[in-house]
């Protein structure tokens, strides 16, 4: 009994060996390749990159394989790996206005320059299990339209032109970085957005949903949702110019929200903003709604006490690596603290019983 409690090295080694065997599963079934995961489970790869804060589809696919498909575990692997990477420099801000869009929709205007582009979306599929997929046949190729160079201006810029939407303040200040500095409050919008961008999709979805149901309601419309590739450029001091170092896929969502105006501002529309790695639109839309809810103070709105309006609440609990680690740590032995509680409860109970006995004897 005693040895069983104090586990030891061999138990850990054996557990790891068993885990490796379970990961591989039935040997009669071909092994899953990292390239297959990258290509065919791309949305899982995207989520791992977004919440892992590291844009590398191959590593994300490897992490998913290693984690047996547990995405939070995969995100954890990526985050831990990220810690060991040196910071070589900072890119220039990416220009999502110049995005090569695979998808671009607006819910606020029927049509706009650049048009509505559905792209590869689940949106209008009927959620019927497709048993043909189980047969593993070759998929028919979709027809492709020729690429156009037609610009896709932002929808919110049209509103901006008429002064109907609150302009965003332009700033060249270096944004705070919560992966290098401890999170402290009050957190400015750039810091909040950074925290939301790597926050748990499920948590943000729940928070965003709560605002729609009235806990900090802010009447959002999807002004624009775009998914596509943007160039990443970096200033190279030795060359004295910015060089393109690569391309990444992003999802950007701008919501247009009602704002009743305040003492100093006339009624106008305001924005919520979401941006995340890969094709991750549920995440980007949720992020935009939560971002907007957190802006109540700067917009002079009322604090209704809603959870989504509370920056400390949202930012301290959005990170699934922090949350799952702390939640699961209660699996670790706690018998020392439990022992002290046990003695305390026994002592207090004994005192209470003794007290009851003397009362009864009276």
């Amino acid at each position: 009994m005693y040895v069983a409690v104090k586990g030891g090295e061999r138990a850990i080694d054996n557990a790891h060996a068993w885990l490796a065997e379970e990961r591989r599963g039935d040997q009669a079934v071909p092994e899953l390749g990292v390239a297959q995961i990258r290509a065919q489970l791309a949305l899982a790869v995207n989520r791992v990159m977004a919440e892992g804060s590291l844009y590398d589809p191959d590593l994300a696919a490897l992490a998913i394989k290693q984690a047996r498909g547990d995405l939070i575990e995969a995100i954890f692997l990526i985050r831990a790996y990220r810690t060991t990477l040196p910071r070589l420099g900072e890119s220039r801000p990416v220009d999502t206005g110049a995005m090569a869009c695979d998808r671009r929709i607006s819910a606020t205007f029927k049509d706009a320059p650049g048009g509505q582009v559905l792209g590869p979306t689940f949106d209008y599929t009927h959620r019927l299990l497709d048993f043909e997929l189980a047969a593993e046949g070759a998929a028919p190729r979709a027809r492709t339209a020729p690429a156009t160079s037609e610009p896709m201006p932002r929808i919110t810029d049209f509103l901006n032109r008429d002064g109907l939407i609150q302009p965003e303040t332009v700033s060249d200040a270096a944004p705070p970085d919560l992966t290098r500095e401890p999170l402290e409050f009050p957190a400015n919008r750039a810091l909040r957005l950074q925290a939301l961008a790597r926050g748990d999709e499920g948590f943000l979805l729940g928070m965003a949903y709560s605002t729609q149901r009235g806990y900090g309601r802010n009447h959002p419309f999807v002004g624009e949702l775009r998914v596509g590739r943007v160039k990443v450029e970096m200033d190279i001091p030795e060359l004295g110019l910015a060089c393109e170092i690569g391309e990444i896929e992003l999802t950007e969502c701008e919501t247009v929200n009602q704002f009743n105006g305040s003492k100093t501002e006339p009624p106008q529309f305001t924005r919520g903003y979401g941006l995340s790695f890969g094709h991750t639109e549920r995440k980007a839309i949720s992020m935009a709604l939560v971002d907007r809810a957190l802006r109540w103070e700067e917009l002079g709105e009322e604090d209704t006490g809603a959870a989504a309006q509370d920056a400390e609440f949202v930012l301290y609990h959005a990170d699934n690596i922090q949350a799952s680690g702390f939640l699961e740590h209660i699996k670790l032995p706690h018998y020392v603290d439990f022992q002290s509680e046990l003695e305390l409860v026994r002592r207090i109970r004994a005192e209470a019983e003794a007290h009851a006995d003397t009362e009864a004897a009276r």
Binding site: M1, V3, E312, H329, P333, V336, D337, Q339, I348
Partner: protein
């Protein structure tokens, strides 16, 4: 290339270690004050000792001898895991003997053997804020510390006495360091609190909560209490079944379905050393010794 060659000494890069060391120096200069630091994601989960691991990584030198304990024991699974991590990434010597260690990382216990100058005790801390369960907001609790406004804590302790006849906190019992900051000693049993006035350096790391704090050697560490309800360090009222110690903290072990139980030292090194020196408890001669092998 082996896996350990791919990482810097003790896993963290030198810039990160420097950042942590600066936080440690500040923490030592302001005993009991929680210094925010940019905690990194470690290859073990938050809540499993990432704060302690980062502090250990920042203070370890190749000449150090490391001991890792969890619940007082060197062979509990997470202690084994953390010790292996440093064996792999720092290749430092490790030991189970308290007296031989220069750095001891601990979770939930202070070793029974008094620590001396030249030793560092690194605590893993889950919730560094002693006021957290009275006030959930960090912005508020920081203000309370700044203003030395600890009334809420005293009210809580008083309410305990009113309700239970004593202070109903058995572990993570709050202390005041050098008469200034109220500090969470991490979830050690209150039995260990008096040991915190020691010759060794005590460093506390909370990774998820991004805080580091410290108690310099020979600092005054008072457990909060009232004049008419003085602090009392309690433990199970038994001798250790294996080594007969009367002065050590005991774990209760259930032995059978009929409620049979034994009490043994939670500090495995202390217990083994006593047994080696010929101190034997009631169950040592029979199954106790066998079980421990």
């Amino acid at each position: 290339m082996t896996q350990s060659d791919q990482y810097n000494f003790a896993y963290l890069d030198e810039q990160t270690k420097r950042m942590i060391r600066r936080a440690l120096l500040k923490a030592l200069a302001v005993p009991g004050y929680q210094v925010p630091f940019a905690s990194r994601e470690m290859p073990m989960p938050y809540g499993w000792g990432t704060g302690g691991v980062q502090v250990s990584a920042a203070v370890l030198t190749p000449e150090d001898r490391l001991k890792v304990i969890d619940q007082g024991a060197d062979d509990t699974t997470n202690a084994v895991s953390i010790r292996k991590f440093f064996e792999k990434t720092a290749r430092v010597e490790t030991t189970g003997h308290t007296v031989e260690a220069t750095v001891i990382q601990t979770r939930h216990r202070i070793p029974e053997e008094p620590l001396g100058e030249g030793q560092i005790l690194v605590y893993q801390v889950p919730i560094p804020e002693p006021l957290r369960f009275l006030e959930p907001r960090e912005t508020e609790t920081r203000k309370m510390h700044a203003l030395e406004e600890y009334g809420l804590m005293h009210v809580k302790l008083y309410e305990d006495i009113a309700r239970h006849g004593e202070i109903a906190t058995a572990y993570a019992y709050p202390v005041k360091v050098e008469g200034r900051y109220v500090m969470d000693p991490s979830p050690i049993p209150k039995f260990d609190n008096p040991k915190m006035e020691m010759a060794a350096i005590q460093l506390f790391g909370a990774g998820r909560e991004q805080r580091i704090y410290a108690v310099p050697p020979y600092s005054r560490v008072e457990s909060l209490d009232f004049e008419d309800h003085p602090f009392c360090a309690s433990k199970a009222d038994h001798p250790c079944a294996l080594c007969g110690a009367l002065d050590s903290y005991l774990d209760e072990v259930i032995m059978d379905d009929d409620g049979g139980r034994m009490f043994v030292c939670s500090d495995t090194d202390y217990c083994a050393a006593r047994q080696a020196a010929g101190h034997l408890g009631a169950m040592a001669a029979s199954d106790g010794q066998e079980e421990r092998r």
